[in-house]
């Protein structure tokens, strides 16, 4: 028991020493400084925003304390009593992830990710804070632009255009006397050998339509059936 107590004491002592090193306490008033640095996206993306420091702000608990960013991207927020704070970096063009900073009554700092759902979950991040931009903030929907290729590759349009092509181009080919001859020759050769699909289908349909009334009349007495009657 005694041993444990000693160990505990020495541990606490170590902690407090450590805290003294890491903490810059101001005038002994129990007020601390939260320090960190903001990293915007790499230079080529921030090229048009050479003055991003002036338009970036750091809010502690939604503006209870405010920090401004210096030229080198660092910030320090003064006069903060011990407690738990959410640090947000605000810029109108970039999104930054908020960080929770906890300062205990001894002045020890701990920084972790903000998790509103599992508040007890600790996902520690280094302190002094290094806050990187997650990316450019997207405020706008992208409007669907009208492009000729979109229209052309639309299945509906393709369905329309292909028959038109066939109708327009095929007769032209027919009109050419030489191809006509060729075609005629081919047709003569193939005329009786392979019956055309369409012919088969149309013959079949034709026979069906001719036959069906007869069939219907035959079956009328036995099985009244609903069927769309095709009109000639």
């Amino acid at each position: 028991m005694n041993f444990y107590l000693k160990l505990f004491l020495s541990l606490a002592f170590f902690l407090s020493v450590h805290a003294d090193i890491s903490v810059e306490e101001e005038y002994g008033s129990g007020r601390y400084v939260i320090e960190g640095r903001v990293f915007p996206l790499s230079d080529y993306q921030t090229g048009n925003l050479n003055n991003w420091q002036a338009t970036t702000r750091v809010h502690v608990n939604g503006g209870e304390f405010i920090g401004f960013v210096k030229k080198d991207g660092s910030f320090a927020i003064h006069n903060i009593p011990s407690g738990s704070y959410v640090i947000e970096v605000l810029h109108s063009e970039y999104t930054f992830e908020p960080v929770r900073v906890e300062i205990n009554s001894k002045g020890k700092f701990r920084a972790r990710k903000v998790n509103n759902i599992q508040t007890s979950l600790i996902n520690q991040v280094p302190y002094p804070l290094k806050i990187k931009a997650l990316g450019k903030t997207r405020y706008f929907q992208i409007r669907e632009q009208w492009r000729a290729t979109d229209l052309l590759f639309n299945p509906m349009i393709m369905m329309m255009l292909l028959p038109v092509l066939l109708i327009m181009v095929l007769p032209r080919l027919m009109n050419d006397p030489e191809t006509k001859k060729d075609l005629e020759q081919i047709q003569k050769m193939t005329k009786f050998e392979v019956p055309q699909v369409s012919e088969v289908v149309s013959n079949f349909l034709a026979s069906n339509t001719v036959q069906s009334p007869a069939k219907d009349s035959n079956k009328k007495g036995q099985k009244p059936r609903k069927r769309p009657v095709t009109k000639e």
Binding site: Y27, Q53, A54, I66, N79, L90, E93, F140, Q141, R143
Partner: protein, 910 residues
């Protein structure tokens, strides 16, 4: 049954329309929204080469363009209610000292961009208002400790390692000093006025003590109160003001002396030359203000210039100036917080900024009147004209209407604003803390008119919120009667009520400012218009007397005495009291107390009634089994929030729903270990409120919804007295991963459109959240798209696309106001604070309007193209048929001819 089906249709219809991405398109930026930025009432100013650096009472540091007055950059420091800028010094860089009591922050800024260069805290043990000055690159912090001494701490400003910055403290005994002592810093001297003695101390000398001179020896004996004003000058000098006449006192080699000439108390002086500038009232009606320059040594007039001072602005004072050669620029501010830059010697006003708009207290949207042309149709039945002249009158007006329609819009003809078809063009009337009314055009954001009411201030209502009331007595619908609006405020000196009636479209007032002889506690607009279609309003005084405006509308009110109820929230006693007008007579209106709710020891924080012009379209919610669950829509329902300090739970937030007629508490819920800020949004049959959960250290939002059940008790008339059953109450809570500043809900003409919550966040964004996302889910019932229900998520997702102000960050938002447009889908939104932002939102998208990216050209092109193509192909086909026929005819092939004829015939038939 019919009822049910219509509800169902609407629900399905709207479900189709909801896609939770309701973002703007980039090309819509600035199409119907606008933003105006302000800096607030200016406290300190410094004129530089091409810019003006200002520090304001809003705790804002900003740089204004010298030529246009536009804001070049603006930095917002801490909350102005807690901290204030106390020193502004511009040299190569800007130095500010801001804070309060014993915590101060010294910051330096770059002039061109407003980037922070350095920041260090300056903390003291003394919790006393103190003074700062900069002299020879050293910061002097002067704290007068009552009846004891003055502490002067000197800090080196530059070339010091921030961590090793140490002040040198010096205490100078001053047993005479009091809290009420007037002290100023003039150059290197600290000067105090106490019981007719003038004390002064040289700050530069390390061992100097206070020296004193009796005031009588300087000014001659007088009983009048003397005021000390500092004068910006190289030689330490102050103005001693008695009876509005100022004398110049200068300190030369530890000896104070008074110059023999008189000055105005508003006299100022700049470093560059030896002139003292002062403003005087002028008799000339066109040029009301005269600038006079006097010589510093002799007091002789050097020159005087009459200014082209704009009418409508308050009395000006000179805050700063700059002289380069003969040209002098004066920076003025007025009692109504406007800023002006005056160019001398011409006396021209270069620009004006209306900074009163940075503190809007009340707003109201007004529809514009119909155009004269449209109105002339109404004249048809005027007089006893015969039928032919009536007919010709109608025809001519309609032809004129057609003409104006074809000649392109009529919304701004002859400079007179008229109503547009969809009610998108409105006028916003705003009342500001400075007591100035403005009318703002929604289309352009320009000021249509402004009116300054002298000595007016807002009331302090529940939770120390500042309030003025704008009541709409008559809208612009009733041509030829003009619209009428009323402003209720209080006198800034006596605190008594002030009533100001005006036409919101033109800003003209027939009666002018009426000052009442009692304090206003509550005012309410009555829904019983009199014969002039003017809605009367009741004003309750602090002695619970009731006054009716206008008095002659008593005959309308008389019939409603027994059904008129009022409630008054008393933040001092933390109670809510209900009154009836039942026992009033025509001669004397009388309030009879009928109920009371007492929240003590809790603190009454907020009371919220439903928007009066809200229409509840759908009476119920369709459940998954196609049955209807009727909403409990009680127009008299009040939502009340209280905060209780508690030893066990730190603080407890309670929210109550109270019937405003009977005082019955329908629902109450308490959140332990929770604290404010609390925002209530009360609409239709639901309430949404936010609070901070101290246990989990996160913002939470709760939704409460009230239902009558499967049977509707009385579908035609609602009476608070008839309580057949208490409503079924559903609640659900969510995490809000942001800090709300203000919250409201969209409002549309008929209430068909989905409701969206608009929440202003501390990061300067105003986001919209669909009510469907918050609507409490029924336990044990399926939730999916068919039920128009979004499955429960404990954390409300906030996407940047839902920001209605996109990248236009808005600062210190103090309110969001909404008003319906005549288009059902659309709602006007005005966000005010240090910036004003106006936009329109369409929660269910603009379903009643063609999309604005609708391609009219394409559809016209396609139509024309297909018509042309029809005719062309017809012709071509005919020609081709003819050609072929001839060809066949020449071949004389009879069979073929017949065949072709057949084809032609078929072609023709086809």
């Amino acid at each position: 049954m019919a009822n049910f089906r219509s509800i169902y249709k609407v629900q399905v219809f709207l479900t189709i329309l909801i896609h939770l991405t309701l973002a703007l398109y980039e090309d819509q930026v600035g199409k119907f929204d606008w933003k105006r930025s302000f800096v607030g009432k200016v406290k300190y100013v410094s004129l530089e080469a091409r810019r003006i650096i200002v520090a304001t009472e809003e705790n804002v540091l900003a740089s204004l363009s010298m030529n246009t007055g536009d804001i070049q950059w603006r930095q917002l420091l801490e909350d102005p209610n807690d901290y204030q800028i106390e020193l502004l010094q511009v040299d190569k860089e800007i130095l500010t000292v801001s804070g309060s009591h014993n915590t101060w922050l010294v910051r330096t800024w770059e002039i061109n961009s407003g980037t922070l260069l350095s920041e260090w805290p300056l903390n003291t043990d003394q919790n006393i208002p103190s003074k700062f000055t900069v002299f020879e690159k050293k910061l002097y912090h002067i704290i007068p400790v009552t009846a004891s001494h003055v502490e002067v701490t000197v800090y080196p400003l530059y070339d010091v390692n921030a961590n090793q910055r140490k002040g040198i403290l010096r205490k100078i005994t001053a047993p005479w000093i009091k809290d009420s002592s007037e002290c100023v810093v003039a150059n290197s001297y600290f000067i105090c006025l106490e019981s007719n003695q003038l004390y002064f101390l040289n700050l530069l000398k390390d061992n100097a003590d206070f020296q004193s001179r009796p005031l009588d020896s300087l000014l001659g004996s007088s009983l009048a109160k003397t005021v000390l004003i500092e004068l910006n000058h190289d030689t330490p000098s102050v103005l001693l003001v008695q009876n509005n006449i100022a004398k110049l006192a200068t300190i030369v080699e530890n000896n104070i002396s008074v110059k023999p000439f008189d000055l105005m108390p508003n006299a100022v002086k700049f470093k560059e030359n030896e002139h003292i500038y002062q403003l005087e009232a002028n008799d000339n009606r066109d040029k009301l203000i005269r600038v006079k320059a006097k010589d510093f040594q002799t007091g002789k007039d050097v020159f005087s210039v009459d200014l082209d001072y704009p009418i409508g602005l308050g009395a000006p004072i000179i805050l700063g100036g700059q002289s380069i050669g003969l040209v002098t620029k004066l920076f003025l501010t007025t009692t109504d917080n406007a800023l002006l830059l005056v160019h001398l010697p011409e006396g021209k006003i270069l620009w004006t900024r209306e900074e009163a708009l940075s503190s809007i207290i009340a707003t109201e949207f007004f529809e514009l009147p119909i155009s004269e042309l449209d109105a002339s149709i109404e004249h048809e039945f005027d007089g006893d004209s015969d039928i032919i002249s009536m007919f010709t009158h109608r025809i001519t007006t309609q032809i004129n209407q057609l003409y104006s329609l074809l000649s392109g819009g009529q919304s701004r003809k002859n400079g007179v604003m008229v109503r547009d078809e969809f009610g998108l063009h409105k006028i916003i009337v705003v009342a500001t803390r400075a007591g100035k009314l403005f009318a703002i055009d929604t289309l352009s954001g320009s000021i249509a008119w402004s009116y300054r009411l002298p000595n007016i201030q807002p009331f302090l209502s529940t939770d120390k919120k500042e309030e003025m009331l704008l009541l709409v007595q008559r809208t612009a619908k009733y041509y030829p009667l003009p619209a009428q609006c009323v402003l209720l405020a209080q006198d800034s000196i006596t605190g008594l009520g002030v009533v100001f009636q005006f036409d919101p479209i033109t800003g003209q007032s027939t009666k002018g400012i009426q000052r009442l002889n009692y304090k206003i506690v509550q005012a309410v607009l009555l829904p019983y218009p009199n014969k002039n279609l003017l809605k009367p309003f009741l004003v309750v005084s602090d002695t619970l007397e009731v006054h009716l405006f206008p008095k002659d509308s008593i005959s309308q009110l008389k019939e409603h005495f027994s059904t008129t109820f009022l409630y008054i929230a008393d933040p001092k006693r933390d109670s809510l009291n209900g009154y009836s007008l039942k026992y009033s007579t025509e001669d004397s209106l009388k309030l009879t107390p009928i109920w009371e709710v007492n929240f003590q020891p809790s603190n009454l924080v907020d009371v919220s009634a439903k928007p009066i012009n809200e229409i509840v379209h759908s009476q119920g919610k369709v459940l998954y089994d196609r049955s209807v669950y009727y909403k409990y829509v009680n127009p008299n329902l009040l939502a009340v929030a209280t905060v209780t300090p508690d030893p066990n739970h730190r603080s407890v937030v309670s929210v109550y729903l109270i019937d405003g007629v009977t005082g019955l508490i329908l629902h109450s819920a308490s959140h332990r270990r929770a604290k404010g800020p609390i925002h209530l949004v009360h609409s239709e049959n639901w309430l949404v409120y936010t609070y901070f959960n101290d246990r989990f250290r996160r913002m939470e939002v709760s939704a409460v919804e009230l239902y009558e059940g499967h049977l509707q008790s009385n579908s035609t008339v609602f009476s608070s007295f008839a309580v057949s059953q208490l409503p079924d109450i559903q609640t659900q809570s969510y995490i809000l991963p942001a800090m709300p500043l203000k919250m409201t809900v969209t409002l549309t003409e008929r209430g068909v459109t989905n409701k969206f919550l608009l929440i202003a966040l501390t990061n300067g964004a105003v986001i919209e959240i669909p009510w469907l996302l918050l609507q409490p889910r029924f336990t044990g019932m399926p939730c999916g798209p068919e039920e128009s229900c979004i499955p429960y998520m404990p954390e409300i997702p906030i996407h940047s696309e839902t920001t209605i102000n996109y990248n236009q960050t808005l600062s210190r938002i103090s309110g969001i106001e909404v008003a319906p447009a005549r288009l059902e889908s659309t709602c006007h939104v005005l966000v005010h604070g240090l910036d004003i932002f106006y936009t329109r939102v369409a929660p269910s998208k603009t379903f009643d309007l063609l999309k604005e990216d609708f391609d009219y050209r394409l559809i016209v092109l396609v139509l024309v193209g297909s018509i042309v193509a029809t005719f062309v192909t017809k012709r071509l086909a005919a020609r081709k048929a003819l050609k072929r026929a001839w060809k066949i005819f020449h071949k004389k092939d009879i069979d073929k001819k017949i065949e072709v004829m057949r084809i032609c015939c078929i072609g023709i038939v086809k």
